[in-house]
Each structure stands twice: as structure tokens, then as C-alpha cells.
């Protein structure tokens, strides 16, 4: 049988979804698929477009690849625009004259950003926000601009404002309506959102109608408003809504709506039966759907109809949940209470700027809409109640009022949901489908994602999908697998408990009593870390030595050539000239590469194994101690110069930093720990990016916790204010020990806190209010670690047996000839492969 040929015009998210769904259908082999795309690349994730400004590349955003299409036999043309459509001949023609015939045509042409017809809009630096090319243009323009304006305060406009802010521009949002996100929010929600984003430094101008863009005086342009006011800016981003790309349909005789959009029926057919339209270009029941989930739904309906199915498109839920400029916003159903007789509950927290509104049916029994600003955690729950027409609890306000102490958060819980409830609206995955996947063996959220696709669209349902999965697992009597590795069927927290309660001092004892096999490179260092956190015995002890990663074993950081770097402790970053000289002398003598670290210390690179003891002998003689840069341990306490020298300093930050570093130095933990102390709120020590950050104020110390830099930077949360020295240390003692006790392997404090049920609030209740009654115990355990401290290097170099370990070869005094250095900027660096080859050849010549 001859294959049916399907041509898809447009390869955006929806066009690709159509192709992907068709490929996955049971009779995929009966179709030949051709897609023609105007953009230079195949489908990418436009929903996550703003991620492009936070480091994602075009590559990261791709939803498919040319290889995938090639493997699946999908022909594609990029950079080709369809300009003619001939329904009577069943063919389309592209701008380059290429002609493509079809049996079925699918128009997935999407939309374009609407630019209001303002005189002056066509100048350079007046841009839109839709494609990757647009983002490249915005980045380029931002480099030559100081001030940026976004025209449009809707969902996309605020995304764009975030982008401008991230690019370092003074950012303004100009909106025609009296409030932000006028489509999704009510007045109260709009106001709270406005106030929150203004605090983030974005200026909002509502009820402004731009009349003209002329040359500016201070900036490149001046926008003149209808009310006579003006605003000066260097660049303008238009984000005032979208318009369907319906020009083909319009020009070649298909039915289009009065205000645009290609008319479709419930099967997504246009007025010509073998031509379909899906996504933002389609007009169903006089409505355009500008979200990805309804577009995906249309794609599925069109595939179903073409392959002989009966699915229909009957409208879509336009509820949304998102984060705009870091502010959580969600809107469900009839958010503005337009239903006659609708009842409302409103909760407003003026201090934390949280606004929540429930809209109920006139009889008060059903939830028909909701607005959430500042805290959208109730979204999943509310959406399910709304979509499944479930009865609300007797006192509906419970759904939005924060849970008071000792009371579980009220929700109906995932068990109350019907099997048909849609959990993932992007991919139309029901609760039943997730439960079914769990029964078929998907027991992690990753497995659920790959088998059902739930949570792989906008990601908004991951938390809910996880709850459904866990509830089903519990029903099946399956424990959720959190074993550390094949040798121990326990979590790190459980192992910690076993070690402490059983007074276990060696790995052998633990694995004999509670594990199996010999151990591996996962459980051995983990147990070593637990033993160190509990008993703080020397890691060089024979029974403990074989558990250590090479870094801990040789007490230095292995670099890629197999050589080591050395970082002596410089508490608080304070160092005497004599000690600086000593470091310089050592660096020079042993030909080490030296570099200042981010933690205000000095790193000496390129040391060979056999030189480590001699180097440390000299460092110890000069008064240094080990810096634990090699361990999952307390690393550094960074500080600014504080009130001692600085005109603005309020308290002695260096003194406090040194006290903290001396107190906790060497504490082994599930992950490395970094601290900082700033002497005033100017925050020169960057304490808010640390696991433990301390900032001086006129009322005492402020404590911040659970921040980090690295791959996923996170700001620390304010934990307590107005602390004296003693209380500060008490809180840090408890905080650190609680973390050491309960965190998972390699879990940083931020992730640990996010995973604690109750998060920051719970942590405060444990540390400050001592809710669990473990405060004294935690302090005692910390004191034990502090008392047992000794410098590992000092203990090692006084033991000749241990020094033997630093021999390069057990049978020769030769040095390792795989280590080769070359010189660069007056210091050594490891040779690259090419240089090593040259070096070896030269040596051979010499010996020949």
C-alpha cells in the first residue's frame, strides 16, 4: 500500500508534538512525514526561552534533533517559508520555489508577537521576544543599552522584563491595562504582584498608552504616552500579546476568524477537510489558545483523526502556574469571578506579600477559580479540585490559609483524586496512567518521566506526580529505594544512626553487622565521613585509611595529572607577612604553581606525592595547619575587614570569622561547607552565597543559612537576626550537627533544607525553638568533635610508618615520568598531550 504523505508546516513545539505523536502511533509506518520550518533549527522549548539568559544554550532547549528525524524517516526543510497553498492541487510551495504535494496538510504555523502600530516602532533596538534569534538580538542590543522597556505587562512581558533585568539593564514595564497580567489575575493579585516585582527593582507603569517613539535626551529613545508623560529608554521590547499566523489560510481561501485565526472544528480540521490547523494559529469556537498544553492537545486530536481515532478537542483549561521574576504566580479557571453569583474567599498576608483567592460556585460547594501570588504551593491541589468538580471541604478557607503549628496542611490529598484526574496537562497524563506506570515497575520520578512523559513539559506537575507515585508505591507495599549502594540497604541518615547508637568505630564492623560484600567507592568514603563526624578520629589510622578518597588519603587535592595541590588553612583570610613569605618560599623551592582561591587562601599546585611530607614539614614549621580543602568538610570562613579598619563596619567580622573557622575547622560533613562573615550590610564577604553566612548589623549578627555558589547558585535564607556572639555559635552548632546527622550523601545544605518537610520554617523550629528537644544533644556532639580536633598533617609527619605511603614507587626512588610540566606566565602548568609527545621525543634523542 502506498504511504499517505503528511506535510506539517511549522516545526515549533506543537508541530513537533504532532510528528512525535504520529510516530508513536501504532500505524506510524503507513505515513510519510515531511515538515517545513521557517526557523533555522528544529523545534525547541519556547516555554523555557528565558533560560537562555541564565546560561542554557540553544542546544539545551532543543526538543528534538536532526538525527532523530533522520532515524525516524521524517524529511525536514529548515529556513524554508511556505508562501503558497493550493488546496485544489493538494500542494504547497515555498519561497525558494520548492513544491511539496500532500495527502493531509497540517498547519502549525504558531503566532507572531503583536507590535502596536506606534510611530517609531521600526527603529533599531525596538525588538520582540519569541525566537532564539530574537534573544540573540536582545543580548546584542542590551550590550549597548543601560535602560530597557518592555511594552506589555502580561505573562510574556514579565518574562521579557526578567530577561532585561538579568542582562543588567534598568528595567521598566509599560502596560496599557490598569494592572499586570490582566488576563490571568484579579485586581488584588495584580497589586501584590506589582509590589513584589517593584521591590525587585523593576519599575511598573500601568494605564500607559504609547503614542510615539522619538529620539531621547538622556537615552536613545523617548516614549511619549497619551497622558502627556514620557519615559526615556535605550531599547524597547514589544510583548503586547500574540497574533495567529494565519496568512496562508487567509490568502488561499480557508476560513479565518474575524480577528484572525484559522477556523477549526472539534477534529482540528479547517474548512478544507484534509487540511488541519493546530496550536496558536488555530481558532476553535472563536478562541485562540496561547498556551502549550492546549496546542499539544490539538496535536493529539489531529493525529487521532488522521489515523482513524475519535478524539475531539473540546476546549482547554487555561490555568497556569509559573514563576515571574522569581515571584510565584498561578491562576485557575474563573480567576476574576465573572460567573454570576460566584463567592470568594481572599487571604492576604501583607508582610510576606502573599495573596490567595478562591472563587466558588454560587452554592459554595465547587471551586471554579483561584488566584495565587507569592505562594503557589496550593496550585496542584486546587487545580485538581476545580477540574474534577470535587466538593470543597466544609471550611474552604482551609485550602488557602497557611497551616498553623501542629496541624497538617489541609488538602484533599492525592488519594482523593479520581483515576481520570489529569496530573500533567502538557502531556495529558492522568493519575491512572502514573499509577499504572508504577505498577509496571517505574519506582523513581525519573522512570515515571521517561515512561509517561509526565513532568517533562513545563515541569509544574513534578511535585504532584511524585506524590501520586509515592502514594501508589505505599499502596503496593514497596519501599522507596534510598539505599546508598549495593552494600548497604540503608540511607545515609540510617547509617549515621547505626554508627552512633551502635558505637561503631570501623567500616569492617559496620559492614559485617549491617551490610554485605566488601564495599565500594561510594559507601567507603561515606562511612569514613560518618565515622569522622561522630568520632573525629584521625583519617590516617590504618583501619580508616582504605576508606578514604585519594584526596583524604593523601590529604591534598588530586589534579588531573595525578599531582596534588595544597591549601593550608588561613582562618578568616587573615595572614601575616611572615606566613606569606613562608608560602612563597615553599612555592619557589618545590616549583609549585600558586593561585589565590575564592575562599581567601593560597593554593599551591603541582606537588608530587613523595614531596608532600617535606612540603608540609616546612609549612608546619612556619605555623600552618591543614586547610581540609581535600575533604567534604568545613572549608573556609571568608570575611571582609570589618569595623576594625573599614569606615562602614559595624562589628569585628574578621575576629568572628576566625573564631568560627577555628571552632568548626575540619568538621566532616555530607558535602563541603563554606562560610562567610560580613562586617556590615554592604556584604563584601558575600555571606549570602554560603552554607552559613553571618552579617553584622547594629542590633547584632544576622544569620543566613543554606546558600551556595557552584553549578546551581542559591541565595541563603535569613534564619535569625539580632544575635549576640554566644547565641550565634549555638545556632550554628545545632544547624551544622543537624545537617551532618540527617542529610544525604553529597547533599548540600540548600538541597537538604528543600527536602526537609516544612523547609526553612521547620528548620527554625528545630534549631531556634528546639521543637525536637535535641538542641543540647546536638551541641554536645559538636563539642565532642571540636575537642577531638587535631591537625591531620602534623600527626602524620611525626609517624614514619605513615610517611611510607607517600612513596611514588614501592621499589624505586625514581620520580613519576608521566608528570610533565611546561612554563606559562612564569609558572609551571601541566603539559598537554602534544607537549608530552614532544618532550618524550626530545628525551629519546638525548639518550640515543
Amino acid at each position: 500500500m502506498k504511504k499517505q504523505k503528511i506535510v506539517v508546516v511549522g516545526n515549533g513545539m506543537v508541530g513537533h508534538k504532532f510528528i512525535d505523536t504520529l510516530l508513536a502511533s501504532s500505524n506510524a509506518d503507513q505515513y510519510q512525514i515531511v515538515t517545513i520550518a521557517e526557523e533555522p533549527r528544529l523545534a525547541y522549548d519556547r516555554v523555557q526561552l528565558s533560560a537562555y539568559f541564565s546560561g542554557s544554550t540553544a542546544e539545551d532547549l532543543m526538543l528534538t534533533s536532526e538525527t532523530y528525524y533522520q532515524e525516524k524517516g521524517v524529511s525536514y526543510k529548515l529556513n524554508e517559508k511556505v508562501v503558497e497553498l493550493k488546496p485544489e492541487e493538494n500542494c504547497v510551495v515555498t519561497a525558494s520555489g520548492h513544491k511539496e504535494t500532500y495527502d493531509q496538510l497540517v498547519l502549525a504555523t504558531g503566532s507572531y508577537p503583536f507590535v502596536p502600530p506606534v510611530p517609531g516602532r521600526e527603529q533599531p533596538h525596538c525588538l520582540v521576544y519569541r525566537t532564539i534569534e530574537d534573544l540573540e538580538a536582545i543580548t546584542a542590543s542590551a550590550k549597548q543599552s543601560k535602560v530597557g522597556v518592555v511594552v506589555g505587562g502580561g505573562l510574556l512581558g514579565l518574562e521579557a522584563a526578567n530577561a532585561l533585568k538579568n542582562l543588567g539593564l534598568e528595567t521598566h514595564v509599560v502596560e496599557f491595562a490598569p494592572r499586570l497580567m490582566a488576563v490571568q489575575l484579579d485586581e488584588g493579585g495584580g497589586q501584590v504582584l506589582r509590589s513584589k516585582i517593584e521591590k525587585l527593582g523593576v519599575k511598573v507603569h500601568t494605564e500607559k498608552n504609547t503614542q510615539e517613539i522619538v529620539a531621547g535626551e538622556k537615552c536613545r529613545y523617548r516614549m511619549i504616552f497619551a497622558d502627556g508623560n514620557y519615559l526615556e529608554t535605550d531599547m524597547i521590547l514589544f510583548s503586547a500579546g500574540i497574533r495567529p499566523r494565519d496568512e496562508l489560510a487567509r490568502k488561499f481561501g480557508l476560513g479565518v476568524g474575524e480577528r484572525g485565526g484559522i477556523v477549526i472544528n472539534n477534529y482540528c480540521q479547517t474548512t478544507v477537510p484534509n487540511i488541519y490547523a493546530i496550536g496558536e494559529c488555530a481558532l476553535w469556537s472563536n478562541r485562540i489558545f496561547g498556551l502549550v498544553a492546549p496546542g499539544y492537545q490539538m496535536a493529539r486530536v489531529a493525529v487521532s483523526h488522521i489515523t482513524g481515532g475519535t478524539e475531539q478537542f473540546l476546549g482547554a483549561d487555561m490555568s497556569t502556574k509559573l514563576k515571574l521574576l522569581g515571584v510565584e504566580v498561578a491562576s485557575i479557571g474563573d480567576a476574576q469571578a465573572r460567573t454570576p453569583g460566584a463567592l470568594s474567599y481572599v487571604y492576604q498576608d501583607g508582610i510576606n506579600e502573599i495573596y490567595k483567592r478562591l472563587v466558588l460556585s454560587p452554592d459554595g460547594k465547587k471551586l471554579i477559580g483561584a488566584v495565587l501570588v507569592g505562594d503557589s504551593s496550593a496550585y496542584g491541589n486546587l487545580l485538581q479540585i476545580c477540574l474534577n468538580h470535587m466538593e470543597v471541604p466544609e471550611s474552604p478557607e482551609q485550602l488557602i490559609v497557611p497551616a498553623s503549628d501542629g496541624q497538617a496542611a489541609t488538602g484533599l490529598g492525592v488519594d482523593a483524586l479520581p483515576e481520570t484526574a489529569t496530573i500533567c496537562s502538557c502531556h495529558d497524563v492522568s493519575k491512572g496512567a502514573i499509577c499504572c506506570a508504577v505498577r509496571d515497575g517505574a519506582t523513581t520520578i525519573g522512570a515515571i518521566k521517561s515512561s509517561t512523559k509526565a513532568g517533562t513539559g513545563c515541569g509544574g506537575c513534578v511535585a504532584l506526580a511524585t506524590q501520586v507515585m509515592n502514594s501508589e508505591l505505599t499502596k503496593l507495599g514497596v519501599d522507596i529505594c534510598t539505599d546508598v549502594c549495593e552494600h548497604f540497604s540503608y540511607t545515609r541518615q540510617e547509617l549515621y544512626h547505626l554508627v552512633r547508637v551502635g558505637n561503631i568505630r570501623t567500616f569492617e564492623e559496620l559492614i559485617e553487622k549491617h551490610g554485605r560484600g566488601l564495599g565500594c567507592d561510594i559507601c567507603k568514603p561515606l562511612v569514613a565521613s560518618i565515622l569522622a563526624s561522630c568520632w573525629n578520629e584521625l583519617i590516617m589510622k590504618n583501619e580508616l585509611a582504605h576508606l578514604q578518597d585519594t584526596n583524604d588519603y593523601f590529604m591534598a587535592n588530586m589534579q588531573k595529572s595525578g599531582t596534588y595541590s595544597i591549601v593550608p588553612r588561613v582562618a578568616g583570610g587573615e595572614i601575616t607577612p611572615d606566613k606569606l613569605i613562608a608560602l612563597g618560599m615553599v612555592g619557589k623551592k618545590y616549583r609549585l604553581y600558586t593561585k589565590i582561591t575564592g575562599g581567601q587562601r593560597i593554593d599551591l599546585f603541582g606537588a608530587q606525592l613523595e614531596d608532600l611530607p617535606a612540603i608540609w614539614q616546612e609549612l608546619i614549621d612556619a605555623g600552618f595547619e591543614t586547610g581540609h580543602a581535600y575533604g567534604k568538610a568545613v572549608r573556609t570562613v571568608k570575611s571582609c575587614v570589618g569595623s576594625t579598619w573599614c569606615r562602614y563596619g559595624v562589628l569585628d567580622s574578621v575576629g568572628m570569622a576566625i573564631a568560627i573557622e577555628e571552632r568548626y575547622k575540619g568538621l566532616r560533613a555530607p558535602h563541603k561547607l563554606k562560610f562567610a562573615v560580613s562586617g556590615c550590610t554592604r556584604e563584601c564577604a558575600e555571606a549570602q552565597s554560603k552554607d552559613v553566612g553571618v552579617i553584622a548589623t547594629e542590633n547584632g549578627w544576622s544569620l543566613y543559612v543554606c546558600g551556595n555558589g557552584g553549578m546551581k547558585p542559591r541565595h541563603a535564607d535569613l534564619f535569625a537576626t539580632g544575635l549576640d556572639d554566644q547565641t550565634l555559635l549555638k545556632y550554628i552548632d545545632r544547624f551544622l550537627m543537624f545537617y551532618v546527622r540527617t542529610a544525604d550523601r553529597l547533599q548540600r545544605t540548600s538541597v537538604w533544607m528543600d527536602n526537609l518537610e516544612g523547609g526553612l520554617k521547620y528548620l527554625k523550629s528545630v534549631i531556634i525553638d528546639d521543637k525536637l528537644g535535641v538542641g543540647a544533644e546536638l551541641e554536645k556532639e559538636m563539642q565532642m568533635v571540636i575537642d577531638a580536633y587535631q591537625c591531620e598533617w602534623k600527626s602524620t609527619i611525626s609517624d614514619p610508618e605513615k610517611l611510607k605511603r607517600f612513596r611514588t614507587f614501592v621499589n624505586s626512588n625514581k620520580r613519576d615520568n608521566t608528570v610533565v610540566f611546561v612554563e606559562e606566565r612564569e609558572q609551571i602548568r601541566p603539559a598537554n598531550e602534544e607537549e608530552i609527545v614532544r618532550f618524550v621525543e626530545a628525551n629519546e634523542l638525548e639518550t640515543a
Partner: protein, 102 residues
Amino acid sequence: MDICDSSDVLPNLGVRALVNDEQIAIYRVQGQLYAIGSIDPFSGAAVLSRGIVGDVKGQLVVASPIYKQHFNLATGVCLEEPSVRVKSYPVREIAGRVQVLV
């Protein structure tokens, strides 16, 4: 080839030997000696003697300290990429001395 005294090779702690120009890692696990090439094929650094030993899926292995691949102590085959292997050497203990056949 005679390498070292038996007491130089402690349980679960690798040592490195130089034989002609070859770098060899020697381990003692559960009383048994093993010897494989010490140069990690993924990084080119001579570091395998400094890895953590243990068992993974029933095989005795050492984990490279650089990028953490596991190598079978008896055969030298990499568990993650079985097409990659390091040399393995016969090794024995005679009269308190460790000897490797190169």
C-alpha cells in the same frame, strides 16, 4: 621480577611499582594479591594504585580517583566501558617477598 617486602602491601591499600618503564599497581584484597597497569586510560595519569578497592556486582574492582571508572582487579577490564582495559600481571608472594611477572 622481585618488587618489595610482603609487609609493604597492606590490605585494601594499593602501592605502585616501576618495572622497566611500566608503572604497575599492586593490591591485596581478602588476602589475595592483584597487579594491573597503574595508568588510568581515561585521564592518562598514573593514579590507579591510589583508587578505592571494593566489589561491584560481584567483581573485585578499583575505582579511578580521577573520573571514577571501575577496573576489574583480575582482568583489568573497565566495567563501564568493557572495550577499555589496562594490562593485568601475574603476581605472587614467595618467602615474604612480592613478585610480578612482566
